[in-house]
């Protein structure tokens, strides 16, 4: 599994409000990219645009050379784009199995494909397999995050987008989630993580793209964490870089 997600000249936002201004970058399979930036920079808007929830006014989003723009969400999901939305986007009163099944059917998977996807998710996160008949609202925050990631893995995506996966997680669980993201990238996937706790996310990242006011202001590799203090100082606050 080695793919390429190419975003070129995306301009878009919400109605008349332009949030993204000519955003371009490409990510290859096996890379874990951290998309950072202050609140309102356009990180979530960009993920929503890639996933198809928002229509850009200009630009293109290509997966392995195939244009995604104009396709409905379920087509993009089946083509290999998976999203773990901000706040996890789960259905609390449904069981874990029902959550996975609903997502599989939303992606228009056939019944046997859906079951295959659920097996894939439970293989990636065995704890999900033990909780299949449990309601999601009864799970811990970490387990819920695993269900959300597992749900995004139903279609065996080549691109995995995670929006603020650290939200509501204890540090130890958050580090486990990061290690999982690294493992998924090492399997050849494109993994894009939007994160506010950026210094911790950069620990496992290959690259970091920083958005400010809807523009890419930095795009570079993360070499053994050497640039972390510089990044933090430049784009967030000098205080955050201090040990």
């Amino acid at each position: 599994m080695s793919s390429e997600l190419r975003i070129e000249g995306i301009v878009g936002g919400y109605g008349d409000l332009t949030v993204l201004r000519d955003v371009s970058f490409a990510v290859e399979g096996g890379q874990l990219l951290v998309l950072a930036g202050p609140n309102g920079a356009g990180k979530t808007t960009l993920l929503s645009t890639v996933m198809g929830a928002l229509k850009p006014s200009a630009g293109s989003v290509k997966l392995d050379g195939e244009e995604l723009l104009g396709l409905p969400i379920h087509r993009r999901t089946r083509m290999g784009v998976g999203l773990v939305p901000e706040g996890r986007g789960l259905f609390p009163s449904l069981t874990v199995w029902e959550n996975l099944r609903v997502a599989a059917r939303a992606a228009r998977l056939h019944s046997d494909q859906a079951e295959e996807g659920i097996e894939r998710a439970t293989a990636a996160f065995p704890i999900i397999g033990e909780r299949l008949q449990q309601k999601v609202q009864s799970l811990s925050g970490g387990e819920q995050q695993m269900v959300a990631i597992g749900r995004a893995l139903l279609t065996d995506p080549s691109v995995l987008l995670l929006d603020e996966p650290s939200m509501g997680l204890a540090p130890i669980i958050w580090h486990q989630v990061l290690d999982t993201c690294r493992r998924l990238a090492d399997e050849g996937r494109v993994v894009v993580v939007v994160e506010q706790r950026v210094l911790e996310a950069l620990r496992v990242a290959d690259r970091c793209v920083v958005l400010q006011h809807g523009r890419v202001v930095r795009d570079g590799s993360v070499e053994a964490g050497s640039e972390l203090p510089e990044l933090a100082e430049s784009y967030f606050s000098a205080e955050a870089a201090k040990p």
Binding site: P72, H74, P92, S93, L94, L169, A170, I173
Partner: protein
């Protein structure tokens, strides 16, 4: 004792009717996120169409009649949702106002189609059984069986089918459902249409037992609304309990106290339900400060 059991038999029939309409209330509320205030008129249209088709005299099979009546009322529900309600983009208050207007429009239609003050479609089958001296007509047994079958059918639909699970998912987290690419407006159309069909089905089986005036639908719908909101709007399990409670209060008050005040007692209960909802939705602003429940601060979310 026989008298009590006979009254109870009437209570069960009324509960079955409230349950059928109440499940329609729940279906729309859960999937569309608003209340359909035209439910009572959908019920009356079901009764009127049954009566009209019977009066035309060409169709005698109740099985064909029920399909035609449900299809006609369902088509009105479908058109109302597609042409009026879908355009509101999920705004619950606007939808509520539109369903009030829809109710008034359909009421005029029911009035035009209903020449008699009270219409009473013919019984499918006359006669009945008398276990222990309690008379139960076959038509009432059909009402009970319909309510039981619809309740069980909806339970199976919501827990065993992909469409049902998807509808529950929309109730739980509509933005997340939309984010997955689920076509929530299509589900809303299905829910609204099915709720209209349920009201028509209720009328088709219940109207022959008691008769209906063209303007009596709102009272039945309000009682059904009470039934589903006592335990909590949107909960089908609670609707069963609520339907029996409302029917029991109505039936026993009418039989053992005063038939003229049974509706007043039931509607007083409706005011209590509305008051509780108002208290809940405003965080207790309608309640004197000394009566307010002091809530402990909740623990921060996390693992």
């Amino acid at each position: 004792m026989i008298d009590f059991l006979q009254t109870t038999e009437g209570v069960v029939t009324a509960a079955a009717a409230y349950l059928l309409i109440g499940l329609g209330w729940n279906l729309v509320y859960n999937t569309c996120g608003y209340l359909n205030l035209a439910m009572g008129t959908f019920y009356i249209l079901g009764a009127v169409f049954s009566w009209k088709l019977e009066a035309a005299g060409h169709i005698h099979s109740p099985f064909i009649l029920v399909v035609l009546v449900c299809a006609a009322v369902g088509a009105i529900g479908f058109a109302a949702e597609r042409l009026l309600l879908r355009r509101l983009g999920g705004n619950a208050l606007n939808a509520l106002i539109v369903t009030i207007g829809l109710n008034l429009m359909l009421l005029q239609l029911a009035m035009k189609l209903s020449p008699a003050t009270v219409i009473r479609p013919e019984l499918f089958i006359s006669g009945g059984i008398s276990p222990g001296g309690v008379h139960i007509s076959y038509q009432e047994l059909i009402v009970w069986a319909t309510a039981a079958a619809v309740t069980a059918g909806l339970f199976v639909f919501f827990t065993r089918t992909d469409l049902g699970r998807t509808m529950r998912a929309c109730t739980d987290n509509r933005p997340a459902a939309e984010g997955l690419g689920i076509k929530v407006p299509t589900l809303a159309t299905i829910a609204f249409t099915v709720s209209a069909i349920l009201a028509a089905l209720a009328a088709f089986v219940v109207a022959p037992t008691q008769g209906s005036a063209y303007n009596s639908g709102d009272l039945i719908a309000i009682k059904a609304f009470m039934a589903v909101s006592i335990v909590g709007l949107g909960r089908n399990g609670g609707a069963i309990f609520g339907a029996f409670l409302v029917a029991a209060v109505e039936g026993y008050v009418a039989r053992y106290w005063n038939p003229e005040i049974s509706n007043i007692v039931v509607l007083s209960g409706f005011l209590v339900v509305l008051y509780v909802y108002a208290v809940r939705s405003t965080g207790g602003r309608f309640v004197p400060s000394w009566m307010r429940i002091r809530r402990r601060p909740t623990a921060p979310q996390g693992v």
